[in-house]
Symmetry: C2
Subunit: 444 residues, 2 copies
């Protein structure tokens, strides 16, 4: 009997050990509910923007049991600026928004933005254009504005006709429930594979008037047409001329949303819009290079950069948030190309995932960029740690210092390529098993 008892004990131990191992495997395979890089404080307290109201509803386009449509309404006289995906296969809503922004909007009518999640209305041919028309017409009627003042976006599966009737059926209800306080709900309704709502704000005193900026974003790949388009809406009570707002947005976009990459893939629907209601009581900004213009642009830039970072931090499978700083390049453009080459390199990204201070892969990615770099003057830093200089590993660098640094969740890699004054920063995340699991293991 003693033998049996001992055997039982041994087997119990084995089961417990095997269970533990299995748990380890399963944990490494399963998706986290919320990105480990999400801000610990949750969704921020965003200021109310005078002149803007939000509402959300369940249209059931694809998701059940959650809000999947949002309406934002901005007061008549608001100025609107937008930047959109450069994809040659861009979606019907993007083409419609771009057309509407080509000419001045009527100044006596409110502006409306209608976004649905679950279906991207991309690569849907002429039917897609019809869906956009149907939604814009319905919104313009309910909200009481011209169709030219209605902007839409759709995010979700590609190539399936958008069941726009389900959205149209909700518009009366959406219009009836508009409120200044619903920006968090709006951030939630536009999510697809996002694991948390993204918001950011700033305030700035212009002409003696405190001016607020509040923005929301969605996006978690860079960015699949399936489910992970990036959409950004920023609202402010600033008073800004449309052309000035557009110039600021296009300019700041290069150093925020156009300076992030999760997987180098670009959505057919990416949209970033800024709406300024002019309710701050200040005088109109008519010159981007004026004192007021610069102050406003700086605050707007802060909000855009923060939202851009949040998109990377919700990158599919991301466990590391990484800034790639390039200096010493032939030009800023060249620095940007080098930074993107490093940020998009699968070998750099897998090294980050493995917490491997593999500076050789950084050298490789700089080399393959096609840009001018002086191999023998190149300097590489991981954070503050000098890793390589003068074309070789630094004599003071130790592998253990590199290994220890790579354990941080937020990292920076800085490369000076030794040929000129050009510089750029790009933000990215690592490439993990979880990215493969999200995009390969389960069919949409």
């Amino acid at each position: 009997m003693g033998g049996k008892k001992a055997k039982l004990k041994k087997l119990k131990k084995k089961v417990s050990k095997l269970k533990k191992e299995l748990k380890g495997f399963e944990t490494s395979q399963s998706a986290p509910e919320i990105s480990p890089l999400a801000p610990s404080g949750g969704f921020p307290n965003l200021p109310v923007i005078q002149g803007v109201e939000f509402s959300t509803a369940q249209a059931g386009v694809k998701y059940a049991g959650r809000d999947d449509v949002m309406l934002a309404k901005a007061i008549a006289g608001s100025t609107v600026a937008g930047v959109f995906t450069r994809s040659s296969t861009r979606s019907a809503p993007v083409l419609d928004c771009q057309n509407k922004l080509k000419k001045p909007l009527p100044t006596d009518m409110p502006v409306a933005i209608l976004v649905n999640s679950g279906n991207s209305n991309a690569f849907t041919g002429a039917k897609g254009d019809g869906s956009v028309q149907a939604i814009c017409t319905a919104v313009s009627k309910q909200v009481g504005t011209a169709t030219d003042c209605v902007f839409t976006a759709s995010t979700g599966v590609i190539g399936e006709p958008l069941p726009h009737d389900r959205i149209v059926a909700q518009i009366s209800q959406l219009n009836a429930t508009l409120s200044k306080d619903k920006i968090k709900a709006a951030a939630g309704a536009i999510m697809t594979t996002d694991t948390f709502e993204k918001g950011a704000s700033a305030s700035v005193v212009l002409d003696g008037k405190t001016t607020h900026i509040a923005g929301i974003a969605k996006g978690s790949g860079m960015i699949a047409p399936d489910m992970a388009t990036m959409l950004v809406y920023i609202f402010t009570d600033a008073t800004v001329e449309q052309s000035v707002l557009q110039t600021m947005l296009s300019d700041l976009n290069e150093r925020s949303f156009n300076a992030i990459t999760v997987d180098s893939d670009t959505s057919t629907s990416d949209s970033v819009m800024v709406i300024a209601t002019g309710q701050n009581g200040g005088s109109k900004i008519t010159d981007a290079s004026s004192t007021q213009g610069k102050a406003f642009a700086a605050a707007l830039g802060d909000v855009m950069r923060e939202l851009a970072h949040l998109v990377v931090k919700d990158g599919e499978g991301a466990t590391k948030f990484v800034a790639i700083n390039v200096t010493g390049a032939a030009s800023n453009m060249s620095a940007r190309t080098i930074a993107l080459s490093v940020a998009n390199s699968p070998l750099v990204k897998t090294a980050l995932a493995g917490e491997d201070p593999n500076w050789g892969r950084v050298v490789m990615a700089v080399g393959k960029s096609g840009e001018h770099a002086d191999r023998d003057k190149m300097t590489i830093y991981f954070g503050d740690i000098l890793v390589a200089e003068n074309g070789w590993v630094s004599p003071n660098y130790t592998e253990s210092a590199g290994v220890s640094y790579m354990k941080n969740a937020e990292l920076s890699i800085s490369v000076d390529v030794g040929v000129g004054p050009g510089l750029a920063t790009v933000w990215t995340c690592d490439l993990t098993h979880q990215y493969i699991t999200i995009n390969a293991d389960y069919r949409s």
Copy 2:
């Protein structure tokens, strides 16, 4: 007691079940010994090339218990052509080879090629140049040729000084054991993370003389500087003028080794060389556009394309070999850019890994390429299956047909972008968990 017995039985069953589950996980994680895409027949029977001999040895540069150096010697009067990585951080051996090919080689001296695996001698500063000098001097003495006729390559870890003394110590032995029959051993000695030796051959009648071409290659990422540089050596008994051989190689390279991508990463050491011994007894090819020139180039192109395919088939973690055909582009260059955009898209590559006929991701990748494409005239085929046409999914396409097709190990995706006569084909593989495991989970 009965209760204990039952408990014991139950626990035993549980252990067996847990063991099975664990095994499943482990199998999905562990590297296959040989790529599932490796040719079923093993290494081909390559013809002996008159005028070329090979030998291999264990220098112990990094690997123990296997040959890691190879010497190839070609008869005096051979012509040599080469193409190399465009990386701006290229290795010392690559720079040395490029310099030597700038001027005509002496015609009365043999040509030697010395390759080591385990250390890439890249990003090693002035020490790296010294290692190349030391090896070339030792080889020239033993083989009895000028240092200008000695070409080297190194593949393996980056940034570590090459212990060239270990290689130099083997050169006398290498020279003493040269043989016409050792090309397979040579293919093995240059391997790093490769899972199988790669060889290909062709023969062609030129001027009434049967002419042979035999080549070997290594490479399995595209291509990490760590361990997976691509190296290719092709030998032929054809009689060809050097400038003609160089032109043919550069031209054919665009449609073979420059038309493959595993992970979009480019090595600091990639080298492709062709050595023609002139031993076929035919008259010299002095014009690439002559009948003989065209016939030879066609055969050389076959060997190059086959070797290029083998490199992709040994791609890290690859389970699918995929041809991306683009037609209807504005130019051939534009078609190539679009094909590479599809081939390098992580979302396309993970869809391939998941056997997901996700044509939406193909549309996305075409759109993000920055090249001109007509969304509403675009056509997409998976193999012979018409998937999308006129800017939307084809009415005859069924998801089940797509799913069934994607189960094949060799796939083709053909996209007509509807704007012009440009065309290009690029070959790639899928992006799997195994790629992440190889490059992230284990530190080098």
